[in-house]
């Protein structure tokens, strides 16, 4: 196969993928380029490669996850790695073992890659200081979710050809969203203009310093946008603590085909999932294959993660 030629691991880059903040534009483009090949592979009949044969990948998930975990699982397996997924929400941590001790224990088993999802911001950074293998951040607290941003970028490129010059709106619970943060950094880096739309109580402080324009009005925020990214609003945040009600949120911030008209004519919708239909997005709109990229995001997620695993595995 064409891929047998050894694409060397990213040169002069940190050996870990901890966030988009630490990534250079060269590295980001390299991952996206590499991923394009895997899109084709994943659509073919024979999906299995042996690039990572003999390598061990540990998926360390401290927080429940469906799509990210299965995506990394599949990505590793398609590249031929031995993949072990550890669901940490019911293990040693509950017995008082610290993250560092867990890391040391796993490190002693000589993994080549650790994929970590953790509820605390910065946990992958801490882990990366203590292990010898590459650490890939699969989402930490509300800080970063780099592979999600990369797969979003790949999805946009796949449809629009490029990111540079596009206008992208990210809408919803920005405050608690690592997806929003990673996307802000990556889309900015790749030359897009980013608008943030959220009610005041779900807008992080000083968000403008991240290089975005912030809006509380969908009409203004969506104006001439090419991409509309919606974020999940969790149940516990919509009953009075951050917002008056689900109904009121949907009225002002839920994406409907009416509101989508404020955006550019050929605007496309994205959502990292899981989706709250009827809360942040109209259910028909979410399923409309003419405007919704949701399924494609999941599909390309595997390709992006294959690229990351390949490039970061030493």
């Amino acid at each position: 196969m064409a891929v047998t030629k050894n694409t060397s691991a990213i040169k002069s880059s940190p050996k870990h993928l901890l966030g988009i903040q630490n990534l250079s534009i060269l590295e980001a483009n390299k991952i996206l380029e590499e991923a394009k090949f895997f899109i084709k592979l994943n659509r073919s009949n024979s999906k299995k490669l042996d690039i990572l044969r003999g390598k061990t990948q540990i998926n360390l998930f401290f927080e429940p996850s469906t799509r990210t975990q299965s995506s990394f699982d599949l990505a590793g397996k398609r590249l031929g790695a031995d993949v072990m997924t550890m669901n940490m929400s019911n293990s040693a941590l509950k017995k008082g073992e610290t993250l560092i001790d867990t890391a040391m224990t796993l490190n002693a088993m000589h993994p080549d890659l650790i994929v970590i999802r953790h509820q605390d911001s910065g946990a992958p950074n801490l882990l990366s200081q203590k292990v010898n293998c590459a650490v890939i951040n699969a989402g930490d607290g509300r800080r970063e979710h780099p592979t999600q941003a990369l797969l979003d970028a790949l999805t946009i490129i796949n449809r629009k050809g490029k990111i540079e010059g596009l206008k992208i709106a990210i809408c919803g619970d920005i405050l608690h969203s690592r997806v929003a943060r990673s996307n802000i950094y990556l889309m900015n880096m790749l030359g897009a203009e980013v608008n943030i739309i959220a009610p005041k109580t779900l807008m992080p402080s000083c968000i403008n310093k991240l290089g975005v324009k912030s809006f509380t009005d969908m009409k203004k925020g969506l104006d001439s946008c090419d991409i509309v990214m919606m974020l999940i609003l969790q149940n516990e945040r919509m009953q009075g603590s951050f917002l008056p009600s689900k109904r009121e949120y949907y009225e002002y911030f839920g994406l409907t085909s009416d509101k989508l008209k404020y955006a550019s004519k050929d605007a496309l919708i994205m959502h990292p999932g899981p989706m709250n239909r009827g809360v942040e997005i109209d259910t028909k709109l979410a399923d409309d294959i003419n405007v919704s990229l949701v399924k494609e995001q999941v599909e390309l997620g595997v390709a992006v993660r294959m690229a990351c695993l390949k490039l970061y595995c030493k």
Partner: protein
């Protein structure tokens, strides 16, 4: 003990508005016998010990109004012996110790224990605090009268705040009658929930829950309103933001009597120093913006802030080697308090006199203790400083049992050469 005669000193004693070349004579009881320019060498007496300072600076021993000793309960973090060593190496001769030990110092028998233990193990002046409320739970006041009678200097819930306004009103009302000192940590829990870092660009970037400066301001506003009704001796432990200073200024301008402290950390670091999740810089109150830091320094200059404290909080490495949100809060600092404060002199933010004042006579006045001054008759607690000596902070060279310094590798200028307690040499570099 021999009489001691310090010569060729630059004496800085803000309690006497003194900054002059001169000599200090300490009598055999460890009290200041004479101080100033024209002190003649006492007539030849074999017992006299002459100490030539060669132009170095002589100041009163430092009074640190906020430090944590691990005893009892947290001896693995710090004990009286290690705290003493760290303090004396930093020129600190008087320490107000915090009551958030295990068990908590909230009853008379604990006070007796801590005073006995301190007397036996600590070679430094200790002034223990008791908790403001029983079990630090913010609900029931402790026995202010009985505890004071046993030797408690002040009452504080350390890093906890009495949230209930009625409780706080009663505490201040009761305290105003018997004249005890209340030291408040200002933090509204509803606003600060789960947070460990200033709310702003850094908290947004790091994805950490931020605490708004309003959480501090709102408690200060509440307490200062109560203070009008119940004029007790009230001290704000540590302010951290410009917002709080605005409230403090308004109230001081109204003529209200209260005092204000600040941690040396908030004067010399800001939120950017947290960098890539440095848990040693997880502090309470949190480090805030550079604008806040500058405002705090300015507030010392114009007298809004009275005292600089070390907020010495030893934590073992294990409790810091965790994800930021889970890591313990606090940093050690008693040994580096003075050298770090001198940074503000070297970078021309504050006068030397002002710095020494906030570290010696000001805390002594608030505490109503006979320390922080070298006036004739005072205890000869003395610190000798080489103002220019450069050095680099290295955690493993510090004397505290815990090594969680917030200023590892910081280049400082100014070093403590010698410390005397009641005229006795207790630290010599």
């Amino acid at each position: 003990m021999k009489e001691k005669f310090f010569i060729n000193a630059r004496i800085i004693d803000p309690s006497q508005q003194m900054d002059e070349k001169g000599s200090v004579l300490v009598d055999i009881n460890g009290k200041i016998k004479a101080i100033g320019k024209n002190i003649k060498k006492p007539v030849s007496d074999q017992k006299l010990e002459i100490i030539d300072l060669e132009g170095n600076i002589l100041i009163p021993g430092i009074v640190d109004m906020k430090a944590f000793v691990g005893e009892p309960g947290f001896e693995y973090k710090e004990n009286f012996r290690t705290l003493t060593q760290a303090a004396l190496a930093g020129g600190v001769t008087s320490i107000v110790t915090m009551p958030n030990t295990n068990p908590i110092i909230d009853n008379v028998s604990m006070v007796d224990f801590i005073i006995r233990r301190g007397r036996d193990k600590a070679a430094v002046n200790l002034f223990p605090c008791a908790s403001l409320t029983k079990q630090l739970d913010g609900k029931l006041m402790t026995e202010f009268g009985l505890l004071s009678a046993r030797g408690i200097i002040a009452f504080s819930d350390v890093t906890k705040t009495v949230q209930n306004t009625e409780t706080m009103a009663r505490i201040m009302n009761y305290a105003s009658d018997i004249g005890v000192l209340i030291m408040q940590h200002a933090e509204d829990y509803e606003l600060s929930k789960n947070s460990c870092i200033n709310e702003g660009e850094i908290s947004t970037r790091l994805g950490l829950e931020g605490v708004s400066p309003i959480a501090e301001k709102i408690i200060i506003e509440r307490d200062l309103s109560l203070l009008s009704e119940y004029p007790c001796r009230y001290h704000i432990n540590q302010v951290s933001s410009r917002h709080s200073l605005d409230v403090i200024k308004i109230n001081k301008d109204l003529g209200k009597k209260f005092s204000v402290g600040v941690s040396i950390n908030n004067l010399s670091l800001n939120e950017n120093d947290i960098g890539d999740f440095k848990t040693f810089l997880k502090l309470s109150p949190p480090l805030r913006t550079e604008d806040d830091r500058v405002a705090l320094v300015e507030a010392i200059k114009n007298g809004l802030i009275d005292v600089i404290v070390s907020d010495h909080t030893p934590e073992d490495e294990e409790s810091k080697r965790l994800p930021f949100a889970q890591a313990a809060t606090g940093a050690i600092g008693i040994e580096t308090l003075l050298p770090l404060a001198l940074e503000m002199y070297h970078n021309e933010s504050l006068s030397l006199n002002k710095i020494i004042q906030t570290l010696t006579i000001n805390p002594s006045k608030i505490l109503k203790i006979n320390k922080g001054s070298l006036a004739v008759g005072c205890d000869a607690d003395i610190c000798i400083i080489d103002l220019e000596a450069p050095w680099v902070v290295k955690a493993d060279k510090l004397k505290s049992k815990s090594k969680n310094t917030a200023i590892e590798n910081r280049k400082l200028q100014g070093k403590v050469l010698k410390t005397f307690l009641n005229g006795e040499l207790v630290f010599n570099l």
